[in-house]
């Protein structure tokens, strides 16, 4: 008996020590990982009042257990990504323990918790700022849950510049879900301006990228070809992913010593994803875009689009079909020799100047029928290295995944090393889904930030 009692006491003490409690264990995690979005200044309902937040305890724990929140799509265990705000296994276990214990609530802690994600962002020095639809407003289509609308910014510089950083300030966070900036080169700038101007209202509808949705229609493309022979093909190839913003992101700088080339006469097409389903009737009163630029960078870079261009014409060539009520998986790969060729063409650098390629980021881009996806690297011996695995795709939380450490591919590996993107789709409708540009079509693309390491490591001056 005398032996047993201390043992029981110690056992209960251990349980008491291990049991997660609200203020001590849960709230710090909420403040660090949730407040950037769940706050009055954020995009979703606020977790700034601890007592009110406690009322979400069951929903919060369920979302954490199912990996729905925080909305970080990448499976852990493959690579370390910059700004990874997912919860660690240990942090998830704290939530699980707390839920299992019946959500115990300890006494409120008096010290001020620091909200890492919601802390004041670092100062972002902009070299070029512009406000979209300045002085006007845009009301997204109210009959759709999402609208992807593109607005064109004239690039103001008359010499080559490298974009090295970006910050967005969306005009209405209740409807601005995310945005992607695409650059369109000077030879195609007038074409995209013309196509955009043909649509009623501000900007043009652009679900699948910077180009108007209506160009998915062969008749529309034929009309363009009549006016501008070869124009569609040129436009389709002469655009690339420049930068993006998603909730929680402040201004950021591209990886050190890198930048993306913008030629004089280019335009930036800002693809705004408006999410009107939750806030019907609300307008965007003007979103601000800020860019950092440099005249030179040590490692010129591009966002390489890894995709099968044929998929975009699937209604005609049947290359991407997702049958009604079924699933399909598609895969595409390119060697680093192909990637080098693309990068040197866009950056206007001779092949012979490139010593090595640095792979700095990956993502997977699909539309609403996307179910899962991944991007991997296969070396010359057939060994596969998973770079990004998204087991549960969610269109709403797509983003770029930048590696903490770049992967360097040496010259003698370019022709044998491949980058592979794979997408699995699920079609719940009663109609076949095709690859294409439209909102009812599908895509499978990986955009990777690729930096070129130049021989003699010379910074590339603007030409």
């Amino acid at each position: 008996m005398f032996v047993l009692l201390p043992a029981l006491y110690l056992g209960s003490l251990a349980n008491a020590v291990e049991a997660a409690e609200y203020y001590a264990d849960i709230l710090p995690l909420v403040e660090q990982n949730c407040l950037a979005c769940h706050s009055e200044a954020g995009v979703s309902f606020s977790f700034e009042d601890p007592e009110l937040t406690y009322s979400f305890r069951a929903a919060m724990s369920s979302a954490v257990a199912d990996d729905r929140m925080p909305p970080w799509l990448a499976q852990s265990g493959h690579r370390k990504y910059v700004d990874d705000y997912s919860l660690s296994a240990g942090e998830k276990a704290i939530f699980a323990d707390w839920a299992n214990a019946g959500y115990p609530r300890d006494a409120e802690q008096q010290e001020l918790h620091q909200a890492t994600m919601a802390a004041s962002p670092p100062v972002f020095a902009s070299d070029f700022s512009v406000e979209l639809i300045s002085g006007r407003s845009f009301l997204p289509n109210q009959k759709m849950k999402d609208e992807y609308r593109c607005f064109i910014i004239d690039w103001p510089f008359d010499t080559d510049k490298y974009v090295t950083g970006f910050k967005a300030e969306p005009g209405n966070l209740r409807i601005a879900h995310h945005l992607v900036n695409y650059a369109v080169g000077p030879e195609s700038a007038d074409l995209i301006r013309e196509l955009s101007a043909d649509e009623e209202g501000e900007g043009h509808r652009c679900f699948g990228g910077p180009l108007p949705d209506r160009m998915a229609d062969e008749e529309e493309r034929a009309k363009l070809e009549e006016r501008h022979p070869g124009g569609w093909d040129k436009l389709r190839r002469d655009n690339f992913w420049l930068s993006h913003w998603a909730p929680g992101m402040s201004g950021f700088e591209f990886p050190a010593n890198t930048g993306i080339l913008m030629k004089p006469g280019s335009v930036v097409v800002v693809q705004m994803h408006y999410y009107s389903a939750f806030a019907p009737g609300e307008t965007d009163q003007g979103s601000a875009m800020h860019f950092q630029v440099a005249d030179t960078v040590e490692k010129p870079s591009v966002n390489f689009p890894l995709t099968n261009q044929a998929w975009l014409g699937s209604r005609r060539n049947k290359s991407m079909l997702i049958p009604e009520g079924g699933r399909s998986t598609y895969q595409f790969s390119r060697t680093f020799e192909n990637i080098r060729n693309y990068a040197t063409r866009v950056l206007q650098i001779d092949h012979s100047e490139v010593a090595a390629i640095e792979l700095r980021s990956v993502n997977v881009h699909m539309h609403a029928y996307g179910a899962s996806g991944n991007t991997s690297l296969i070396d010359g011996n057939g060994r596969k290295q998973m770079l990004l695995n998204i087991p549960r795709w969610d269109l709403n939380w797509q983003r770029d995944f930048t590696f903490e450490d770049a992967i360097r591919i040496e010259q003698d590996e370019w022709d044998s090393t491949t980058l592979v993107v794979e997408c699995t789709f699920a079609n719940h409708t009663d109609k076949m889904v095709f690859g294409g540009f439209g909102s009812d079509d599908e895509m499978c693309i990986n955009f990777s930030y690729i930096s070129l390491v130049l021989k003699e490591n010379q910074a590339v001056a603007a030409r």
């Binding site: 369920s62 729905r68 029928y369």
Partner: protein, 183 residues
């Protein structure tokens, strides 16, 4: 009469009367079932048709738990609307988890699709239905067949896989129902 006694009295009345509208807009749902498949619960109408739930009897039901603060709930309405058009024999019931009835009512008036299904919206009085069904988060969507058996349950924002499972469940129910009619 105490509140608890009133509830018991209400439940018993509902079981006897199958479906009954109350003076304050509360109605019982699935009163034909007194088992745990689709439990008897007390729901407060957010629409205006007390007798609406009577139509559920003998039909599959798509039950959605939502809240006025929930972004994903408003978004998946667009997907559910398409599925309900595809399988019109499936009935739809939207149950609000809002603490305040006015929050739910005001949000319904803002959202075109919520207004479209206005008669299908209810408040889960004392969270009885959610508790019985073990629903902890919104959105949660549960598909029941005509015999009140749970066929599919998905929680959180629905992606393409979730929608495929839901539509496959609705299709399977519709096909088996049509087979029974032919027999």
């Amino acid at each position: 009469m105490t509140s608890r006694a009133a509830k018991i009295s209400f439940v018993l009345s509902a079981m006897l009367l199958l479906v009954a509208g109350l003076d304050d807009g509360r109605v019982a749902v699935a009163a034909v079932s007194d088992d745990d498949r689709l439990p008897l619960a007390q729901l407060q109408s957010l629409g205006h048709s007390d007798g609406y739930v009577a139509k559920f009897q003998g039909k599959p039901v798509l039950l959605q738990f939502w809240a006025s603060w929930c972004h994903s709930c408003s978004s998946i309405m667009f997907d559910l609307d398409k599925l309900l058009k595809l399988y019109p024999d499936t009935d739809y019931l939207a149950v609000s988890m809002d603490e305040e009835r006015d929050d739910a009512l005001q949000y319904i008036q803002k959202h075109a699709l919520y207004k479209k299904y206005n008669d299908h919206f209810f408040l889960d009085y004392d969270k009885i239905l959610a508790t019985k069904l073990g629903v902890e988060t919104v959105p949660t969507v549960i598909l029941f067949d005509a015999e009140r058996n749970e066929v599919v349950r998905r929680s959180g924002h629905l992606n393409s896989n979730d929608l495929l499972q839901l539509s496959a469940g609705m299709k399977s129910i519709a096909e088996s129902h049509s087979g029974e009619i032919k027999k």
